[in-house]
């Protein structure tokens, strides 16, 4: 029944659904996972790298994480080619705002601009929607560090921590328990946030073991230095391995403790 109404992006089905938009969202559920976590003094974005061939000669440093401006960055789940278009849009918008107002664009304005662009492909023109979901992360003076998630429909929402891409529901349930374990509203510090991100990726990546997972994980942090400048950093392999090993060690301790108490 849905078949008749799902080829046109801009037509509602009798049940009031936009099938093309929903299919686009489905496409992302098969894409490499991205985790975003807000910490006290920065943001962590962790992604699953799907493409890890040793023959790759990278033209850019990442297929998942992109800098949008000095104060803003994003990671991508979905069709990379589609994402490139939207990332250009975001960078242009940020640059034009900087030119007009002499200041960095507030995060929500940047996110809303990209999302409005995505939305127009669900309402005009008969072109397919963008098959991309983003995690936008950045800082502005009014609201501090912020994390936003957006999907092909053009919808966006703000989060303290969230997951997009493959197995995002199991990732999210882990975050619900572990992001703020005492439930008192305190944010983790950067080290805790990084370890939590690795923990989430371990859960969402099938069959990940400590030896293989460091290769497949991309860990990114955004923090501020003493002068107030923003530092965008993709961790190198050794740093990633260190955190992966720490997480593995902690979970071994937990497992051992659990085994003892059940006796």
């Amino acid at each position: 029944m849905a078949r008749r109404y799902d080829s046109s992006t801009t037509t509602f089905s009798p049940e009031g659904r936009l099938h093309q938009v929903e299919y686009a969202i489905e496409a992302i559920n098969n894409a490499g996972t991205c985790v975003g976590i807000l910490s006290k003094d920065g943001i962590v974005l962790a992604s699953e790298r799907r493409v890890t061939s040793g023959l790759l000669a990278p033209t850019k440093t990442s297929e998942k994480t992109y800098k949008l401006a000095n104060h803003a960055t994003c990671c991508v789940a979905g069709l990379t080619a589609d994402a490139n278009i939207l990332i250009d849009q975001a960078r242009l918008r940020s640059g034009r705002y900087q030119f007009q107002y002499g200041e960095s664009i507030p995060m929500e304005q940047l996110v809303e601009y990209v999302c409005n662009h995505k939305q127009s492909y669900t309402q005009y023109g008969g072109l397919r929607p963008f098959g991309v979901a983003f995690l936008f992360a950045g800082y502005d003076d009014e609201h501090g560090y912020q994390l936003y998630q957006s999907d092909p429909s053009g919808n966006y929402s703000g989060w303290k921590a969230t997951v997009i891409g493959a197995n995002n529901s199991s990732g999210k349930s882990l975050l619900k328990n572990d992001y703020d374990p005492d439930g008192d509203g305190t944010m983790p510090d950067m080290v805790t946030a990084l370890k939590l991100a690795v923990k989430v990726l371990n859960k969402t990546m099938d069959g990940a073991t400590a030896s293989t997972s460091a290769e497949k994980m991309e860990l990114f942090t955004m923090t501020r230095d003493a002068n107030g400048e923003f530092l965008h950093k993709i961790l190198v392999k050794d740093e990633v391995q260190k955190i992966v090993d720490e997480v593995a060690a902690e979970s071994d301790v937990e497992m051992a403790g659990g085994a003892e108490s059940s006796q």
Partner: protein, 201 residues
């Protein structure tokens, strides 16, 4: 022929402008308010032909209000507002320039700082401690230069403005009987005094 005077003091800015609206040898009115409010904590004193002055001031103040409405109430800093005004002037410059010169001053709640900017019709912009537009500069800049100091109080700033207005009355050949003086600080924009009530029609 318009005079605009402005001084930044510790916790705010004083912006004053004459109130004459004239063309050639005819004076239409002597109670015009040339200092436009932009949101709660910023004002700009604008000089130039009445048509451009009014059109430009309204365009800027309405766009400021639109920004707040579209962006969930978030406000622009004085620095951002000045940059915006400059970008409007710059774009129009090579199409159909706004023949306006202005002093834009405000108080930033976030940083607890007063900021004052000089902008002219060629879209130049400079952050300053004090400034004038029009012939007034020839008479008043030297007074301001001598009497301005860091961390002035509001009363001291108002005294300097009075000194300037007095000098203009004495030595400037064009008689400007009325001036309107506004203060911009943490409490918003208040009219300190005027020569003639702008609302008196």
């Amino acid at each position: 022929m318009d005079s605009v005077l402005a001084i930044r003091y510790k916790d705010g800015c004083v912006i004053a402008a004459d109130q004459t609206n004239a063309r050639s040898v005819l004076a239409y009115q002597h109670n015009l308010d040339k200092v436009t409010e932009l949101g709660k904590h910023t004002a700009m004193g604008v000089s130039g032909p009445n048509a451009d002055m009014v059109n430009f001031s309204e365009y800027i103040s309405k766009n400021m209000a639109l920004y707040e409405a579209m962006n969930h109430g978030s406000k622009l800093s004085v620095n951002a507002q000045a940059h915006y005004v400059r970008s409007v002037l710059a774009e129009a410059l090579r199409k159909g320039p706004y023949q306006v010169n202005l002093m834009l001053g405000g108080y930033d709640e976030k940083t607890k700082e007063a900021n004052l900017y000089f902008l002219d019709y060629l879209a130049s912009m400079q952050k300053v401690n004090f400034g004038c537009q029009g012939y007034a500069g020839a008479f008043c800049l030297s007074i301001m230069d001598r009497e301005w100091k860091e961390d002035m109080t509001k009363e001291e700033a108002l005294d300097v403005i009075d000194h300037c207005i007095g000098e203009l009355g004495k030595r400037f050949v064009i008689a400007q009987p009325n001036f309107i003086v506004k203060v911009v600080d943490k409490d918003g924009v208040t009219v300190s005094k005027f020569g003639a009530d702008p609302n008196d029609n």
